[in-house]
Every structure is written in structure tokens, then in C-alpha cells.
Symmetry: C2
Subunit: 428 residues, 2 copies
Amino acid sequence: MAKIQYLKDIDKGYVDVIAWVISSKRINDREIEVTLRDSTDVRTLKLVSDDVKLINEIANLPKESIIRIIGEYRNSVIKLSNISTLIKASEELPVDIYSISPDDVEKFVKYSYIVIRRPKYAKVLKIQQWIMYYAREYLYKQGFVELLPPIISPCSDPGLRGARKLRTMFYSHEYELTSSVIMFKQTAVASLEKIFFVARNVREEPIDNLKTGRHLCEFTQIDIEWAFANMWDVMKLGEELIVYVMEKLYQNHKDVILEFNPEFKIPKKPFKVITYDEAVELLKKYGIETPPGQELTQEGETKLSELMGEEPFWLINFPRTSRGFYYIEDPDKPGYNKDFNLILPKGFGELIDGGEREYRYEGIVKRLQELGEDLRKYEWFLELAKIGIPPSAGWGLGVERFTRYVLGLKYIWEAVPFPKVPGIVPTP
Amino acid sequence: MAKIQYLKDIDKGYVDVIAWVISSKRINDREIEVTLRDSTDVRTLKLVSDDVKLINEIANLPKESIIRIIGEYRNSVIKLSNISTLIKASEELPVDIYSISPDDVEKFVKYSYIVIRRPKYAKVLKIQQWIMYYAREYLYKQGFVELLPPIISPCSDPGLRGARKLRTMFYSHEYELTSSVIMFKQTAVASLEKIFFVARNVREEPIDNLKTGRHLCEFTQIDIEWAFANMWDVMKLGEELIVYVMEKLYQNHKDVILEFNPEFKIPKKPFKVITYDEAVELLKKYGIETPPGQELTQEGETKLSELMGEEPFWLINFPRTSRGFYYIEDPDKPGYNKDFNLILPKGFGELIDGGEREYRYEGIVKRLQELGEDLRKYEWFLELAKIGIPPSAGWGLGVERFTRYVLGLKYIWEAVPFPKVPGIVPTP
């Protein structure tokens, strides 16, 4: 039998609710104060009964027990007619749900199956759903078709900046787990022209990346691709999506947003743009060196984010050698790509990675070879490139990073159920 | 530069469109008839020009070349002012996009990267997007929260009826790829009560299952779970979702639906219900035996579907021994579960699998042991069960199977981009 009422519904009159016990405080023989949670609310309620046995039963319940309360609510008190214990939780929990800290990342992720019960994190997940809902709404309105993403294939994105792809055996054949869906995107736009995947990616990150607080080994991207578009078209799309989602969140969920992030601010379009070379020069002035031909260091990116102000900004035209095989070189700026990152303010880091694609067979082969990849693994994609791939541009936006940013969360492992972080195993 | 016009927009006046060449037929020096496709339409257009070079260029283009056409459309003819070849496709394609048949499954799946270009299959994928859109719309309205699903974890669903879970190494620890998200669902309802995942599952199916035409090794489930609900609650939800989605599809996409499936019919609620025992008795009358304590045979399920008429129906109360560890035994019917399948008519097979869950620690341990599973792999879930899992009910609905059913497709590999089918490797 499904629930009659939720905690948020409790008002004067009849009560029939099922909820989890957070804590209880006996007042006397016939009165007890309980703090309860369910998916809608946390409430502290005074329960009274002439039947001492009912009060005893409640008083003896460990935290996380599940109880059904039937009675009448009047003058801030529930007069019980009956209670029923659905689940008596174990006496000792392995961790205290309400004091476990995300600063203690090992404990936090190993006990993700308990952390999810904390009302704070249930709220995060509800907001995450709305982020996805509004993002889809925006992309559908722009005519993008959503496709179901694969999770294994013979070859996945090799451009992982030090992270390793995971492997598996599938009918005795070695396959890779999706590190990104880039090749599927370029394949799909030859049919549907404007597409996106909501793709789960898996990467074994360097263990050091745990320290950044923004790396997950399993993460979700809204991964779009647009045939015949250029980088400026898709950058504009990205800005508009971000602002659209944030406006809708503020419009429809203001209380929760401000509860988490009193400094929540919708960025102003258009976002500022700075080139890689300009950024490297600027950082030099502050004593930060960037290794030639490579992406900015973490320190550099953080400093740059500080210098660029309180708004997200685009960092464009990376050196070719620093990036994945699928970015195309700028014919007007040899050695540099037509690509971009969107960097969030206040050290929240990179949110979007994208650019115009290499779509010519010879170009793809050359770049795969430069990366030291085994071309035989990429057989189907190279066959496709010989047939002809349309020029396109696209990007991937990190859903968990976006969630973290809008809610102002300290760590990315607070922004996903069942987080997997660099170096910590096993976790659910 | 993104496209100015799409093929469906071409009407009197200015034309500036980018499209793929399907075929061309030269009429004379100055006239050529081309059949073009893009994401919106397939059009056969007559192009004329006084500049013979333009007509020559078009005439020499192989299939799948991408061309930009600028001109003026008047009296069923486009008077060209300019053309531009964006991509000249290779002279020979490895397969002919328009004649490749899904009956030839090996070819069809190995060349999925080309098959996706066929307008028929682009339409299938657009309908699939709308199926997901309406399903989400319905579940959100019912208060279900969508969560992002994991794709690797220490232990995944072992109840796979002969299929094998895939493995991978993650920081030197053996993990499994998601075969289903059941454990995560039971974990999440202890917080959010009404949840769902749109979960990609991977299973190495027995090679024989290729013959059924309805097995994929990678498939997507809308996987819901509802705390404190019983099987009838979630069966009702399932019926309502199916009817809601089909009504919306018919309302908003009737032309495409009927083009694929002239016999499209929205089922009437409530769906019929038959128990496993009743089904076994009925099949005996037709000379079909069911191995004791096991699910119906494929032959049996197909015959039953025929006998039950033109509508989907619920098959309930399976023998405990035939099912996964997470189904709970019916205390009023020992040896049988409180579980169900939804079987589609006309041999389309099982669409939904679900039931009330085993939520007690001792019950879960017993059932895992019966299945011969190594309890150490399930450590986190068993710890959770000790703390206390709420009673719940839920189900998984196969998105590709639902797509196949509404469109009346012959095989399931027509209902997903980049299909992976039993025994055929490698495919994209």
C-alpha cells in the first residue's frame, strides 16, 4: 500500500504518514518528540498517547527506523490512534548520516548508500533532475534530437589528459568503456544534423586529481553536436543553455537554490572570451608559467578564473598538441585549434569542452598517430571518415559540475549519487 | 556557419540549403534531377543552370556527398546561382544504405554507422526521443525523481537468465558493468521514495538469443522504484505510462506513427491479468510444456501472447526459483513471488519486468546464496540491508522494446542507434 500522506502534507486533522526516524526525545510517559524525515520534508512533531506502549515503541526505535503514524493533528500535537514499525533499523549505523563530512572524502564516498538519505543531498538530487529537465527542454526547442548513448565499444575517446580508459571483454573481444561519445556524435550528425547524448563517461583519473575536488571517475555529459556549425554557433548555444537553465531554476526553485547558494547569480550573456595565448601572457605577469604547447596548469586556470571576474568565460584556441584528435586546426592560426573551454568563476573550473571537429580522413589518421593510438581499434570510424563525415562543432557539458556550480557545493562528490572518485575503491 | 534552410523549408523563392545526395539523374546539359536528404526531409528537385560546370559538378558527385545549393525555386525547378561541394564522398560505399536489410543482422549492425543515415531510421530515433520525453513527463507529474545511473560498480544484478555480466578493472579492483540498477534503486528509495533511472544495461546474452529478434546486449530501461507501494500500485503506474506515451505519440506524431504502423492501437486499461500457474495450465492444453519452477519458454510466451488477444497483459506470480534475488515471496502463496511481467501482443514479447522487493537482510542473503553468488561482492548492499531497506515495488521497462512495439518494427536492432546483438562483434 503506497503512502497516504507525506510529511509536508501534515496539517490540522487526520494524519496517516510513513517516515524515517532521525531522533526522538521522551518528554514523559505519554509524550514523545520525534524528528522525522521523508522525501518531502523534515518535521519535528510532538506525539501523545494514553497508551504508554505506543510511546515506548517509538522511544525504543533506533535512527533510520521507518514508522507509520496514524492520529489527529491539533494544536501542534499529534494524538496517536496507532503506530506501526515497518522497519526497525540496526542499533548501530556504520556512520552518522548527519555528521559525515564531504571533507572526509573516503568515508563520504564509501558510504554513499547512506549519505543519499541526508535531506541536504536529497535536495541536491532533486535540483539535478531539474537541471536536466530544463536543459532538455532548451535543446529540444532548438531542434536537437536526443539519442541513447552506448557504454561499450571497440574504441573510445583517447584524449583524456592522463586518464586511462577502462576495458572489458565482450564475446572474447576487447572493448572499451565510453570515455566520451565523440565518435558517435560525428556519426549521428550525418543523419540527424543536430543531436545530443546524455552520456555517462568512465575514466580512471590520475589519483592526484582527487585533490582538485572537481574530478569524478564516472560523470555525465550533455554532449551536443551540430553539423555545419562553427565554434561561435555552439558557444552561443552553450551560453544560452546555461542562462536558460539557471533562470528556470531561480524562477521555479528559488528557495532551495538560495538555501544552498545565497550568492547565486545568473551570468550575463555574452560571456567574455580570452585566447590561450592571451591567457598565458596574462598569467606570466603573475609569475605563473605554462608548459609550452600544453593546457593551462590547475594553478593557472584557477588564477585566470580569479582574474577574469565573477562570471564564466570562454578560453579559446588551444595548441593543437595539447588536445584530442577530434579538434580541427585553424587554417589562419597554424598550431592552434578552433576549440574552447568554458571556465566557471571562483575556482569551480572547466564546465564545457568543445570545438570544431576534424572531419577529414587524413586529418583524423594524422592526429590518432600523433597520440600513439592503434589505428586498428578505430576501424569503423576510419571507414566512416573515408565515406565522408560532415564538418561540425559541438561540446560536452559536465552535469555534476554544473550542479555543483549552481548550488555552490564545496566538492563534486556532493553533486552525484554514488560518486566514484580518483583512487578510492571499492565504492557502491 | 550553420545551415540557412532545411529541405522541408524549400518553397517558392530564395533557396540556400545544405543536403546529402541520395541519387542524381542528368536530364540534359543544363538540367539535373537530384534526390537529396537532410534531417527534415527527402526531396527530389530539378536543378537548372546556364553554367554547365555547375551541372557537371553535381552529376559527378558520389552518393552521400554533401552539397550546398543556392538559387531560386519557382515552378518546381531551382534555378541555380551557385553550388558548393562540402564533402565529396568516396566513390564506393561499403554497403548500400537504402537496400541494407535488417534481416541480414550481421551486416546491419556492423554498418550501424551508415544505417543511421537512412531516413527511415532517423525517423525511428526521433520517435524514440519523444517516447522518452513523454515517459519523463508522465513520471515527473507522478512525483518521481530521476537520478543519474552508474555504469560500473563492485557488484551488479546477477539475475540475468543465462546472460553474463561484463567485468572491468578499476584501480586494480574488479568491477562489474551495470546489468541492472536494482540495488541502487532500493538504496535511493530510502531517501527519495519515488525514483527512476534511465539506465543503460550491458549483458553478454547467450548467442541463441539472437534468433528471438528482441534481445540486445546493450539496452536502456526506464527503471522505477516506489517505497511502500505494492505490485498492483506499480502495475497500474506501468499501464498508465504506456497509455499516456502512446496517446501523446498519436496526438503529436500521428503521420509518422501510422506510416510505420498502420495497425497502431492504444491499449485499453486495465490490462488483463493471468497468473503463471494459469498460464502453464492453458499452454498444456495446446501441447506446450513448461519446465517446473522455471519461466515460460519462448514458445510458450509467444503462444500465450497469441491466446491473450491483441492487447498487452500482465503475467504474475512467478515461481521463486525462476527469478532474481530481489523479488519477495508471497506469504500467502509460498514458492511464488509477488512479481510480474508485462507481455506485449503479436509476439513482441516482454516489455516490463517488476515486482515487490525482498528488503530483509536474511531474505537477501538466502536468495544470493541460492543463486550461488559470492556474498563478499555485495558487501555494501548487505550492510545497507542490515541498516534497513524500506519495502518497495518497482519495474524496468525496455525502451528499445517499447520503440519497436509502437512502430511495429520487425527487429529490435532497428530500434536503437549502434545496436549490439548477441554474438556479433565487433560493432561500433
